[in-house]
Amino acid sequence: MRRRGALWFWVFVGPFALGLALFTYVPLLWSVALSFFDARNTVTPTDFVGPANYTAVLGDDGFTDSLRTFLVFTAFIVPVTYVFSLSLALMVNRVRRARAFFRSVFFLPAACSYVVAALIWKMSLFSGVRFGLANTVLGWFGEDPVAWLATPDPPWYWLVIVTVRLWLQTGFYMILFLAGLQRIDPVLYEAAAVDGARPGWTVLRHITLPQLRATSVAVLLLLVVGAFQAFDEFYNLLSDARGYPPYARPPLVYLYYTALGQGQNLGFGSAGAVILALVVAVVTAGQARWLKPGRTDGDG
C-alpha cells in the first residue's frame, strides 16, 4: 500500500519536480558557477577569476544606479498597489448588486499581457505627439504636448510606468483580498457593532486588517518580488532599437544590455543576477520576519 502511494506521489510530483530541477535549479546553480569565471560567449568557461566579476558589477555605477532606482521604485509601488487593491476589494465587497460584474471588470486587466499594455500606453495614451490621448486632454486646456517617456526632467516617465503597472496588477491583488475578506466571519463584525465600534475606520483598523494579515503578507511578498523582477513593461516602454535610456532602468534590463544580450559577458551578468537575487532574498526575508506570516487569518 505504501509503495503504491509512493508510486502515485512520483507520478504526480515527478514531472513537476523534474521540470523544476531542470529549468530552475540547474540553470540557477550554473549561473552561480558562471559568476566566478571569465565566461564571454561561452557557457562552459575554463578561466576561473574568483570574485572579479562581483567587484566589477559592484564597481559599475550603471548597475548600482539601477539597484538604487529599484529600491526606490519598490518602496513606492508596493504600498501604492497594496492600498489600491485593498480599497477596490473593500468597495467591491460592499456592493450589493452586480458584484460579479465589478469583480470581473477590475480583474480583466490582469489577463492582459504586459507587452501589449505597455505598447498601448506608449503609442496611444502617452504618445509624445500632439494627438496622443494624454496630450489631447492637455491641449483642451491650452497646454503644450509633453514627451511623456522621453524627458527625464520632470520625470513624467514614472507616471506612465506606474499607471500601467497599477492597471495591470491591482485587479489581481484585489481578487486575493476579496478571497481574504470573504473568509472573515461576519460574527466578528456583529460583535464589534454590539460593542459600539463605529463602522468605517475603527472596524477596518481593528477587525478587517488584523483578519487579513496572512493575505497581506502574501500580497506584499508577491509585490516586492514582482517589483524586482520588473522587465517587460520597462523594456517595452523605454527601449528602442539602439538601447535603453540611463533612467528608470531595472537591474535586469541593464544586465540584458551589457552582459546577457548581444554582448555575452555571462560571468558579469551572472554575478549581477546573483547580487539581485540576494537583494530580493534579504528584502523578503526581512519583510517576512517583520510581518510574521506564521500567524494565520484566524489568529488575528
Partner: protein
C-alpha cells in the same frame, strides 16, 4: 554528472530554440543535394526580401539550404544560438562582435575574398576584419543621414545647415507649435547618432592603435551643443515611430529627421522632390561632415557540422553571384551594394539624393569600430543621453566614459 547536466542544459536551450523557430522555419530545403545548411536572416521590413533570399537558396546546387527568417531581437537570438548545437550554419550579422570572434564562435572567411578584397568598401570591410582576417562577408552598405524638407526650410528662410551651430539654429527656427525642427529619435539622439557627432568634430571612437579617440575638450564641446537642441525644445520626442522610420518626417511632424538610407524610397514616394539629404554637419576647426555606415555581413558558425560546405555556399552567394547581390541591395529596400564595382554600375544610385548618399558614404562614412564593444556602447550612450536630455556636464560625463572605455580596450588588448 557534470557533463550530463551540461548536455541537458544545452538541450534545454536547444528546445527553446526549436520552439521559437517554429514560426519562422519554412522547412523548405534548397534546390540542391548534399548537406543541409541552415541560413539565418533578420526580418527585413521590405516586401519581397524573404522571397528573394529563398530564391537564391533554392538556386544553390551543392547543398540544401533552408532559410530561417527571424523577427525580433535578432542579434540577441544569434548570440544565444551560437552557444548551442542547434544554431545556424550561416547567419547574417551586424557583427560578428569582437567577443564572438575572439571566442572562436565564427570561422575565418579570409580565403573567400581572395582577389576581390579591394572591391569591398573599406569602411564596411574594416569592422569585419580582426587581426588581418575577415570574419564576415559584407552584404550591403547601410547608412544614416539627415533628411530635410526643402519647402519648410524655404518658408522659414533657412539654408540647409553645414555646421552643427547652423543645425541648432535651423532646428530652432523651424520649430513652431505644430512642427518640430529636428527628429533624432525618441531618445533625443543618443541611440541613433552614436559616435557620429564625434566624427563630425574630427574625432573618433577608437584610434588606429586601439586607444580612446575622444579624450579631450573638443568632444565635450560638440556633445554639449546637442543639449541646446533639447533645451530649445526643437527636438521631436515621443513620436509614434522611431528615427529609423520616416513616418514622422513624411507626416510633417518634423522639418528634418535623422534616418537611414533605407527610408529613401518611402520619402521619395510621399514627398516627391520636396526633400534633400545631408551628412551630419561638421563642428569646430578640425570638423568634417560625417555619416554612419554599417553592414550586415554573412558569417559562418564555428559549430556548424558542415563548415566547408557552409563557407562554399557563402562564397557562392556573397562573392560570386553578383546578380543576386545587386538584386538584394536594390530591388527591395534601398541599400548601397557592398561591392564598389557593383555600386558604380547601378543607375538607381546615379542621381538625386541617392547619388548624394553614395558620395557621403565614400567621403564621410564611418563605421562603428569592432573594438567598440557593447560595454563601451552602453557607457557612451548613457552619457550622451544624460548630456542631451538632462543637461549633464559633458566634461565630467565624458571623463567617466573615457575611464570605462579605456578599461574595456585594455582588456581587449591584453588578452589578444
Amino acid at each position: 554528472m557534470g557533463s550530463f547536466s551540461r548536455r541537458t542544459l544545452l538541450a534545454a536551450g536547444a528546445g527553446a530554440g526549436i520552439l521559437t523557430a517554429c514560426g519562422s522555419n519554412t522547412g523548405r530545403g534548397g534546390g540542391g543535394s548534399g548537406p543541409r545548411l541552415s541560413h539565418w536572416y533578420h526580418q527585413y521590413g521590405e516586401a519581397g526580401t524573404e522571397q528573394a533570399v529563398q530564391r537564391y537558396a533554392a538556386a544553390y546546387q551543392k547543398a540544401r539550404v533552408g532559410i530561417e527568417w527571424r523577427p525580433g531581437n535578432y542579434d540577441q537570438q544569434t548570440a544565444a544560438a551560437l552557444l548551442t548545437d542547434s544554431g545556424p550554419d550561416v547567419f547574417e550579422a551586424d557583427g560578428p562582435t569582437l567577443d564572438q570572434i575572439r571566442g572562436g564562435q565564427v570561422l575565418d572567411l579570409t580565403e573567400l575574398v581572395d582577389g576581390v578584397k579591394g572591391d569591398f568598401r573599406p569602411a564596411v570591410l574594416g569592422p569585419k576584419t580582426y587581426e588581418g582576417k575577415v570574419w564576415a562577408i559584407p552584404q550591403v552598405v547601410d547608412m544614416q543621414l539627415l533628411y530635410y524638407r526643402k519647402s519648410l526650410l524655404e518658408d522659414a528662410g533657412v539654408e540647409p545647415p553645414t555646421t552643427l551651430d547652423a543645425l541648432v539654429d535651423a532646428a530652432g527656427k523651424l520649430t513652431d507649435d505644430k512642427v518640430k525642427g529636428l527628429f533624432l529619435g525618441n531618445d533625443g539622439g543618443a541611440g541613433a547618432l552614436g559616435g557620429t557627432p564625434l566624427y563630425a568634430a574630427g574625432l573618433q571612437l577608437v584610434t588606429e592603435d586601439g586607444g580612446v579617440g575622444f579624450d579631450g575638450p573638443a568632444a565635450a564641446r560638440t556633445l554639449g551643443k546637442l543639449h541646446r537642441l533639447h533645451a530649445d525644445r526643437s527636438l521631436l520626442l515621443g513620436a509614434p515611430t522611431d528615427w529609423s522610420d520616416p513616418a514622422a518626417f513624411v507626416q510633417g511632424l518634423t522639418a528634418m529627421q535623422w534616418s537611414g538610407l533605407w527610408a529613401l524610397p518611402q520619402v521619395r514616394k510621399e514627398l516627391g522632390d520636396d526633400f534633400g539629404v545631408l551628412p551630419f554637419p561638421e563642428d569646430g576647426s578640425d570638423g568634417r561632415p560625417a555619416v554612419l555606415v554599417g553592414a550586415y555581413g554573412a558569417a559562418v558558425s564555428a559549430r556548424s557540422r558542415n563548415k566547408e560546405a557552409a563557407k562554399e555556399y557563402v562564397r557562392w552567394l556573397w562573392v560570386e553571384r553578383i546578380d543576386y547581390q545587386r538584386d538584394f541591395a536594390l530591388s527591395y529596400g534601398f541599400h548601397i551594394p557592398a561591392r564598389i564595382s557593383l555600386a558604380a554600375r547601378a543607375p538607381e544610385l546615379e542621381e538625386g539624393p541617392a547619388a548624394d548618399a553614395v558620395r557621403f558614404t565614400a567621403d564621410h562614412g564611418h563605421a562603428q569600430p569592432l573594438l567598440w564593444t557593447p560595454a563601451c556602447r552602453t557607457a557612451y550612450q548613457d552619457a550622451l543621453s544624460r548630456i542631451i536630455r538632462s543637461g549633464a556636464d559633458p566634461e565630467s560625463e565624458l571623463r567617466a566614459v573615457v575611464r570605462k572605455v579605456s578599461a574595456e580596450l585594455d582588456r581587449v588588448k591584453k588578452s589578444s
